[in-house]
Amino acid sequence: MQAVGRRTILISLAIALLLSALPMPGWAESWVPMWVVLVYIYWCIARPELVGSATALALGLLLDVQQASVLGENALALVIVAGVVGGTYPRLRMYPLIRQAIAVALLLLLYLLVRLGIRVMLGTPPTGWLYWAPVPVSVLLWPWIFLLLRDVRRRYA
C-alpha cells in the first residue's frame, strides 16, 4: 500500500514538473500555474506521513535547477510552506473547497513572498507585478486539482 502510494505521488509530481516546463508563447509565460507547488500541497495535506519537509527540499532543488535560480531559493520557500501545512493539515482537510482554495492562495503568496525576499537580498529582484500572476491562475485550478488527485489517491494510493 505504501509502495503504491509512493509511486503514485512520484508520478504526479513528475507530471507537475513536466507541465511547468511546457513551452509557452511569450505573453503566457508569466501566467503558468504553479503546478508543482499545488500538487505538493495536495499530497502534504492528504498523505502527511509520506510527504513532508524532506520531500519539499528535494522538490525545491529540482525546481531551482529547472528555473536556473539560486540553488535553495525554491527549496527554502517550499520547506516553509511544508512547515505551515504540517501544522494545519487536519484542519485544511476538513475545509470546504472554497475555504481550502483561500488557504492555498495564502500558502502560494507565502511561497512567492519567501522567494521575493531571497531574490531582493541577493540583489536580483523580479521586475513588475507579473511576478504574482501565477497565484490567481493557480487558485482557480485548485478545486479541479484537488478533486482529480483525490480520485487518483482513492484508486492508487
Binding site: 514538473l17 507541465l19 513551452p23 519537509s53 536556473a68 527554502l76 511544508a82
Partner: protein, 282 residues
C-alpha cells in the same frame, strides 16, 4: 503531539540547510557539481515537455501545401545565392584582414570553433530569461560561453550540466554585455531590461552622435564575448538636456523568442577552442 514537535524540528533543519545552500551557491559558487548532477534528473522532463511543439511543427510541415513548399524552396535558393556571393567577398576580406593584422604583428585569430546547439526548453519569467540547450560538459561547453543564433548574440552559458546547459539571455535583467556602436565606434554596455525585445545601452556620453536603426556589435572587452557579433539595433534615443549620459534603447537582432537552433562559440584563449578546432570549425 510528540510527533508534531519532531516534524517542526526537522522542517527547521531542512530550512537551515536550504539557507546554507543559497549562501554557498550565490556567494561561494561551490554547488556547480550538485546542480550539474540534478540537471541530469531534470533533463528527461525538459525533453519530454518540448516534444508536443516539435510534433506540431512536423505535422504542420506535412500539412503545408506543395505550392507553399515550392515557394519556400525558391526563396531559400535565392538566399543561398546571395549568401554565397557575400561569402566570397567575406573570404577575400578576411584574408586581407589577416594579412594586415600580420603586418601589425597582432595575434588575434579570426576563426573560432563553433558547434550547433538545439533548444531543449525556454523559461521566460518576469525579469528572468533563460533557455536550455542540448550541449553540456560532455561537449566541452564552459560557463560564460557565448551563444549566437542566425541573427546575432543570444546570451551566455550560466550553468553547465553533463548533457545540457542553461543559457542566460542578453535580455535578462541580470545580464550586461560590453558593446560598441558599429558606425562610430562608441563603447557602451548593453543591459537586459527583462523584456524580450528591449536592451538598454548605458554609459553613452551626452554629446555622442547616435541614430535610430544603427547596428550595435559586441566589443570583445571583458574577454567573454568574441568581438564583432551583431547584438542589437538602436530603437530609441532620448537626450536629457544637462544629463551626463543619454538614454538609448535597442532591439536585439537575435530572434530571441523563435530560434530553435543556435551556435555555441569557443572563444579565443579558451583551452577547448584549439581542440578539434579545424574539425568542427565552420
Amino acid at each position: 503531539m510528540m510527533a508534531r514537535a519532531g516534524y517542526h524540528r526537522r522542517t527547521l533543519g531542512w530550512a537551515l540547510l536550504a539557507v546554507l545552500l543559497i549562501i554557498s551557491d550565490h556567494y561561494l559558487g561551490y554547488l556547480a557539481g550538485i546542480r550539474s548532477g540534478l540537471s541530469v534528473l531534470v533533463y528527461p522532463l525538459q525533453v519530454v515537455s518540448g516534444k508536443p511543439v516539435e510534433y506540431l511543427e512536423v505535422v504542420a510541415g506535412y500539412l503545408g501545401s506543395r505550392e507553399r513548399l515550392l515557394e519556400k524552396n525558391a526563396t531559400l535558393q535565392d538566399q543561398l545565392v546571395t549568401m554565397q556571393v557575400r561569402l566570397q567577398r567575406h573570404a577575400s576580406l578576411e584574408e586581407e584582414n589577416l594579412r594586415l593584422r600580420e603586418l601589425l604583428a597582432s595575434s588575434i585569430r579570426l576563426e573560432e570553433r563553433v558547434q550547433v546547439a538545439q533548444l531543449v526548453s525556454m523559461d521566460v519569467g518576469p525579469g528572468q530569461h533563460h533557455l536550455v540547450v542540448d550541449q553540456g560538459s560532455r561537449h566541452d561547453v564552459y560557463t560564460g560561453q557565448p551563444l549566437v543564433d542566425a541573427g546575432g548574440v543570444m546570451g551566455q552559458v550560466l550553468h553547465v550540466g553533463p548533457f545540457t546547459s542553461t543559457v542566460l539571455l542578453i535580455t535578462d535583467a541580470r545580464h550586461a554585455l560590453p558593446v560598441v556602436l558599429n558606425r562610430t565606434g562608441v563603447r557602451a554596455v548593453a543591459e537586459g531590461t527583462g523584456s524580450l525585445d528591449r536592451l538598454r545601452l548605458r554609459y553613452i556620453g551626452g554629446n555622442v552622435d547616435v541614430r535610430e536603426g544603427e547596428l550595435v556589435v559586441s566589443s570583445g572587452l571583458g574577454g567573454k564575448f568574441p568581438q564583432g557579433y551583431p547584438v542589437a539595433r538602436v530603437s530609441r534615443v532620448k537626450r536629457n538636456p544637462g544629463g551626463e549620459f543619454i538614454e538609448v534603447e535597442a532591439t536585439p537582432v537575435a530572434r530571441m523568442e523563435r530560434s530553435r537552433k543556435f551556435l555555441l562559440v569557443w572563444h579565443n584563449g579558451h583551452p577547448a577552442a584549439d581542440r578539434a578546432g579545424s574539425g568542427q570549425g565552420g
